[in-house]
């Protein structure tokens, strides 16, 4: 049974399209985080600050920066995904990426007004993420198909290799772009004038039920814990599928926040990484603190010392493999329950309005809890307080299990000692 889970998790983790999806999103992360910094700077929780910013004209510059960094998520992701997938096939990644980028713009509908035409920011950011995924992956597949079939411009002998290389992408790239041009044409003929709304409604709707709802979130948390339990990177395997939804929700909150409207979502990227998985997958912050404070056996004491510092930065591999948690049935129950509890508590306190919702600031997942909650909610104390509460709850959940484990460990250590003693006598 466990071997089966491990095999499935491994296969998902190694799947080339999912890996490319993850790489693509990873590529846009620095821009998202830089954008988030300006989102914070533009909205520091000081009385009169935002008005003052608007007065001196900085507010509009800040929001321009946010739109031009955070807001380019899909544009960067489409390049990154095609690049990564092409590299997997050992064909030129940069060319594939650029061609996918072009294809993305080709299928995106124009905005036309008296001032000229262009494409909407809405589709360059998270709103275009689904099209980016589809266009990025399919473009790379078509591209590598033609390159591998050797459908390239042949140069006469004597032409420098660098020149030949620059022409190599030409015909395959042309095929990709013609393909997307035709797609755009036929969609138009079929009366579908916007591929973005089409994909968001077909692909996005079912996924957002899973990724955006409380129940779906609990399922994902359980899956993540089970994957980690067999020793496979849970976030690494599940995220490619579901993170686009979380990021879309994050971005929807960001846009609503910038527009001064009510924030539409609770389950966002920050909700998962900063509020649910505090201390890492399985909300192990409670576990490492229990080990650090309450463990009596030598082994567990040592593990407490080793795991607590990385745990504060949400890195828990030492605990996962060292304690271990992996395949340790004594810890399976709290390993699933603790992050679920964190999710439920945070969700309901945000839904009821007691705690501020995340405003769309993407905080790096390695940011320690309490600080991360404060930042993610745009500088609201309630965001920090709820993390203190969930942190305490995870300690309570892990405590009895750590005690039990510690007791049997103590017994073992005592036995070993008496063994050694009897040997020396």
């Amino acid at each position: 049974m466990l071997e089966k889970v491990e095999e499935i998790a491994g296969r998902i983790g190694g799947q080339r399209h999912l890996q490319s999806l993850r790489d693509g999103i990873l590529l846009s992360m620095p821009l998202i985080i830089i954008g988030s910094i300006f989102l914070i700077l533009g909205n520091l929780p000081i009385n009169g600050y935002t008005d003052w910013l608007a007065d001196i004209g900085l507010a509009s510059i800040f929001s321009k920066i946010v739109n031009g960094s955070f807001g380019l998520m899909a544009l960067v992701a489409v390049f990154g995904m095609a690049h990564s997938l092409a590299e997997y096939y050992e064909v030129d990644g940069v060319s594939a990426g650029i061609i996918a980028l072009s294809s993305f713009v080709i299928v995106t509908p124009d905005l036309v007004s008296n001032a000229g035409s262009g494409i909407s920011y809405a589709y360059l950011g998270s709103g275009g993420l689904f099209v980016a995924i589809v266009v990025g992956l399919i473009s790379a597949e078509i591209f590598r198909f033609f390159v591998q079939k050797n459908f390239t411009v042949k140069m006469p002998e004597g032409v420098p290799i660098a020149v030949e290389k620059s022409f190599a992408a030409l015909l395959p790239g042309l095929m990709v772009i013609v393909f997307w041009g035709l797609v755009y044409l036929f969609l138009g003929l079929a009366g579908i004038d916007n591929i973005h709304t089409l994909l968001t409604n077909t692909l996005g709707k079912p996924l957002s039920v899973l990724g955006g709802s409380l129940w779906g979130t609990l399922v994902i948390i359980a899956l993540n814990s089970i994957f980690w339990f067999v020793g496979i990177h849970g976030a690494n395997t599940i995220n490619p599928v579901i993170q686009p939804i979380w990021l879309q929700n994050t971005d929807a909150n960001r846009l609503a926040f910038q527009a001064g409207k009510e924030l539409p979502h609770i389950v966002t990227n920050e909700f998962m990484f900063n509020f649910v998985w505090i201390g890492g997958g399985g909300a192990t912050i409670g576990l490492v603190i229990c080990l650090w404070l309450f463990a009596k056996s030598k082994n567990n004491k040592a593990m407490g010392k080793l795991t607590v510092a990385p745990g504060i930065f949400n890195i828990n591999e030492p605990a996962l493999f060292g304690l271990p948690i992996v395949l340790n049935f004594k810890l399976l129950v709290p390993f699933i329950l603790a992050p679920m509890a964190a999710a439920l508590i945070t969700y309901f306190s945000m839904a009821s309005g007691l705690v501020a919702k995340p405003i769309g600031i993407v905080v790096p997942w390695t940011m320690p809890p309490i600080i991360s909650g404060y930042l993610a909610t745009g500088g609201k104390i309630s965001g920090a307080i709820i993390q203190i509460i969930t942190l305490a709850v995870t300690i309570v959940i892990y405590y009895p299990f750590v005690k039990l484990m510690d007791k049997s460990q103590l017994k073992e250590e005592a036995q070993e000692e008496s063994h050694e003693l009897s040997k020396t006598i």
């Binding site: 491994g10 296969r11 190694g14 990564s84 980690w228 020793g231 591999e317 060292g322 271990p324 992996v326």
Partner: protein
């Protein structure tokens, strides 16, 4: 003796960097000339395209990447192994370093 280049790979290069510090310390104590690096899988792929390392060790949580890296380094004859879970969890730099050196020696023979 030339410097032994040891490359550690995990998802983001975060937890392997913890191990890297400990392996470096162990190497220093023993007077072993070893260059230990910890990278994310993407960074590692890029690095391997440019330069050769003596051994590639993969974090147990991303052990499904082993076949991918084996493919990448197949021509360069670089040994690839998944780090033992226990050693990884204990961040046992000494032991992982020993394993790495053993893999290098076996590979050279």
């Amino acid at each position: 003796m030339t410097t032994k280049k040891i490359l550690l790979v995990c998802s983001a290069g975060m937890s392997t960097s913890l191990l890297m510090t400990r392996m470096k310390k162990s190497a220093q104590e023993k007077g072993i000339d070893a260059d230990v690096m910890a990278l994310s899988s993407n960074e590692a792929t890029k690095l391997l395209a440019k330069e050769k390392v003596d051994v590639l060790l993969i974090g147990p949580q991303v052990r499904f990447m082993k076949s991918k890296f084996e493919k990448i380094v197949a021509d360069a004859h670089i040994p690839v192994a998944v780090i033992d879970m226990k050693d990884y969890g204990k961040m046992d730099g000494e032991k992982v370093l020993a394993t790495a050196l053993e893999l290098i020696t076996n590979n050279e023979n």
